[in-house]
Amino acid sequence: MEEKRLQAIIEEIWPRLKRKHLYPEIPIPKIGKVHDPLDEGNEKNDGVGLEMKDKQMTINPAFLSTLNGKMAEENLIEALLDHGITHYTFCPWDFQTHLTLYSEAKKVMGDKESAKQAANYFIDVIADTHCVKKRATEIPELHRNLKKGTVEEVIASLYQRIWGIDLGISPSKKGDDEVVRRLARIPYLDRSRWPESIRKFARSLKPLLILEQNEKEARGGKGESNPQGEHDLDHYSYEEIDQGLRDYAQKTMGLSEFKEVVEDFSAELKEMGYGIEGGMGRGRGAPIDADVLFYMKLAENYSIPLRKIPLEEVGTLHPHSHSPWEVGSPFQDIDIWTSFGKIMPGITQIWKKKEGKGRGKIEGAPDCLIIIDSSGSMINPRKNLSYAVLGAACVTNAYLRNDSKVAVYNFSDAPMGGRDVLDYTANREEVYRVLCKYFGGGTALDLEDIMPMIKRKKEMDLFIITDMKITNLETLIGFFGKIQNRITAVHIGENPYAARFEKAVEKRKNINIFTVKKKEDIPHIVLGSIREYFNPIHRGR
C-alpha cells in the first residue's frame, strides 16, 4: 500500500523531472527493495536511498522513512532522482569516463578500494554541483538532512563553500578546513579537466579516505552506505561496458593501464558475464585474460576491408535467421524492420544466411591462415602494445565477421619447437589467445607445419605478419612463389630483410605487401586484394 502511494508520487513528478532534465531516455523509476552490499546484515536495509541498475532507478522506501518529518517525501524523491538522472546525463555519462576517473584516482591512492571510493565521491560532487547550478533541485535540502561520516562532513562543507548554500555544517577543525579549501579550487564542471581534477581531489582527500578505509576494516569490512547509491558496474548494460572497454583501450593505447583497470574490476566484469570462454566472453568461472581482452577491444575499433572472391557453392544463400549486429559487420545484411531503423549494437540485427538448393558461384570470403612472428625481435604482446598482434586481431575479426574460419601459426624458432598451431576455427578467443603467445628467441619457419594447412583447403587466404627478420627468408620467398593463394604480407617497420622480400615478390600479383609503422597504418591493410581481380583494365596487359 505504502509502495503504491510512493509509486504514485513518482508517476506524478516524473513528467516534470524528465522535462527539467531535457528528456533523458530513462525508464520511469520504481519503488522497491534495494541491494546494499555494505550493509547486508541489517534487516532494516535503510542505508541506501537510490539504486541504479542498467538505467532503471529504484527508490528505497525504507530510506525515505528515515527522513520522515525532516523533508517532504516528494522533495526527497525528487532530489534522489535529480542525482540519479545527472549520472546518466552528465557524470560519469559513460563507462569509459568511469574507468578513466577510477584509473586516475588509483594513480594517487595506490589501492583499489580507496581509489573506487575517491572516484565515487568525485562523481557525486560533480553530479550534485551540476544539478545545483543548472536545475532547480532539492539536493541541498537532502544534504542538509543526511547522516554524515567524517568524509561526508568534509564534502558537505565543500558544498557549502562552492554552492554558497548553508547546509548546517559548523566550522570544521583546522585540518579539514584546509582540505575543503583545496577541494573548492577544483573545476568540477569542466569535463575536459576531469582527469587532472580527480587527481587533485584524491590527493586532497587521501588522508581522510585512508582513515575511513582503516575504520571500515576495523569493523570487519562494513562501511557506511552511500545514501545516493553506489557507483558500480550495475549502472551499465553489457553493451555499454563493451563499448566502454573498447573506447578505453583506444584512448589509453596502453596495455598495462588497461590490464590494471580490468584486473581491478575483474569480479564485477565476471558478474556481468565477461570471462574468456564462449562468444564475446560470456560465461562465468574462467579468469579474465586482460591482455586478450585489450587486443580484442582495441581491434574492434578498426575495420579492415576484406575483398571477397567467387566461391563455388551448391546453392545460393537466402536469409534464414537473425543474429545481433556488431560494429564492423556488413551493413547490407541488416534487417531494418527488426532493428527499428537503428544502427546500434545490441538493437540492430542482421540476417544469417543459409545455403539453399541449386547451383551457382557466389562471392564469399575463404578461410584464412594467419602466420605471426613472435620471435625476440618482435614486441612481447603481453608487456607492450604489439602492432603485429593488433593487426592479426583485426584480420581475425574481418574473416570471422564474414563467416569464415581462421587458423593461426605462431612461430619463433619453429624447427626447435618455438611454435603454436591452431587449426581452422571460428572461436575468436582461441585465436586471440594463440596470437598473444610470445616465444622470443630466433626466427625460422617450418614449411612442413604450414603445408598441410594450405593443402587441405581448396580456397584459402594467407596472412603473414612479421618484421621479416627470418633466418630462412629465402625458403619462405620460394614457397610464396609456388602457391596461388591470395597472400597479404605485413611487415612491421622498414629493414633490409623487408626490402629483400618486397623485391623478390614484386611481380607476384597474388601477394600484397603492407608496412605497419604506427597503429594508424592498420586500417590501410586490404586483405586479399589482387590487382587483377579489382581492376579488370590491367587484365589484358
Binding site: T129, K133, R161, W163, G164, A184, R185, Y188
Partner: protein, 253 residues
C-alpha cells in the same frame, strides 16, 4: 495580370499546413533554463587568473635568466635568478594552494612549455618565501620531477612541508625557516644554510650541509655523505653525526 488574380484566389496549401502543424518545440517556450552563478565559478575563475600570472612570472624569469634554455647552478646565477623571481612574485596575490598547482602545471607541457629545474626551483622557493601563510604544505608525492633548490632562503617564521621527494640543493641558504621533507632529498641539501631546521623523513644524498653556517639538519633515514660543514648540527636517526667523530666530510656511506 490574369495570372496574378488567379494566384490570389488559390489558397496556398503550404501555408495551410504550416498553420495546422504544431511546433514540436512549443513545449519549451515556457521552459526556464536555470543557470545560476555559484561561488565555485568565481573561485575557479580567480584561481585561473592567478595561475596565469604565476605562469607569466616564470616565463619572464626564463626569458631573462635562461635565454638559451640552459642554466648553470652557480652562486651568482642563483642570487640573480632569485632577485628576478622576487620582482615578479611581489606583484601577485596568491595562496599556498596556488604554489602546489604551479608545481603540477610545470609537468604539463600544454600549460608550461619549458621546465628548467634550476629556475623552477628558485621560483617556487620565492613563491613560498613571499606567501601570506606561515605554514605551507605542498603535496607533491605524485610529481614525477624532483624539484631542485626548494626551500632556498626560507625565512624565519615560515614552515614549508613537502610531501614527496625533492631534488638537489634542497634548503640551501635557509634563513631560519623550517623545512620538512616527507620523502628523500638528493645531494647538497642544506648547503650554505645560515639557520633554521631541515627535517628529512627518509634518506639524504651527498655533500649534506656543505658550507653550512648554522642551523640543524635531522635525517630519519641515512645520510650518504657530509660536506665541509662550518657550523651547525646534523643528526642521523636522532644521533648527532656532526659535530662529532662518527662521520667525516666527503666520505660516502
Amino acid at each position: 495580370m490574369k495570372n496574378a488574380c488567379l494566384k490570389k484566389k488559390t489558397p496556398n496549401p503550404l501555408q495551410q499546413e504550416v498553420h495546422d502543424t504544431l511546433n514540436p518545440f512549443e513545449e519549451f517556450k515556457t521552459f526556464q533554463f536555470r543557470k545560476t552563478e555559484i561561488p565555485l565559478d568565481q573561485i575557479v575563475q580567480s584561481t585561473e587568473v592567478i595561475m596565469d600570472q604565476i605562469r607569466l612570472g616564470y616565463e619572464r624569469l626564463l626569458e631573462e635568466e635562461a635565454k638559451e634554455l640552459v642554466w648553470m647552478v652557480q652562486y651568482n646565477t642563483i642570487i640573480k635568478a632569485y632577485e628576478v623571481a622576487e620582482k615578479y612574485i611581489k606583484e601577485i596575490d596568491y595562496s599556498a594552494e596556488d604554489i602546489e598547482d604551479f608545481c603540477f602545471a610545470l609537468e604539463s607541457p600544454q600549460k608550461i612549455p619549458y621546465l628548467i629545474p634550476g629556475p623552477a626551483g628558485i621560483y617556487i622557493s620565492a613563491l613560498c618565501n613571499y606567501a601570506k601563510e606561515e605554514e605551507i604544505v605542498l603535496k607533491l608525492s605524485e610529481l614525477k620531477t624532483e624539484i631542485n633548490l626548494i626551500g632556498f632562503r626560507l625565512p624565519k617564521g615560515k614552515r614549508l612541508m613537502v610531501e614527496g621527494d625533492t631534488g638537489d640543493f634542497t634548503g640551501i641558504g635557509l634563513e631560519g625557516g623550517e623545512l620538512v621533507v616527507e620523502g628523500n632529498t638528493k645531494n647538497w641539501t642544506g648547503a650554505g644554510m645560515r639557520g633554521g631546521k631541515i627535517l628529512v623523513k627518509k634518506n639524504i644524498g651527498l655533500h649534506t650541509g656543505e658550507w653550512m653556517m648554522g642551523g640543524e639538519i635531522y635525517v630519519g633515514g641515512r645520510v650518504r655523505g657530509l660536506g665541509n660543514i662550518v657550523e651547525g648540527k646534523v643528526y642521523e636517526r636522532d644521533k648527532l653525526v656532526y659535530p662529532g667523530k662518527a662521520r667525516y666530510p666527503n666520505l660516502y656511506y
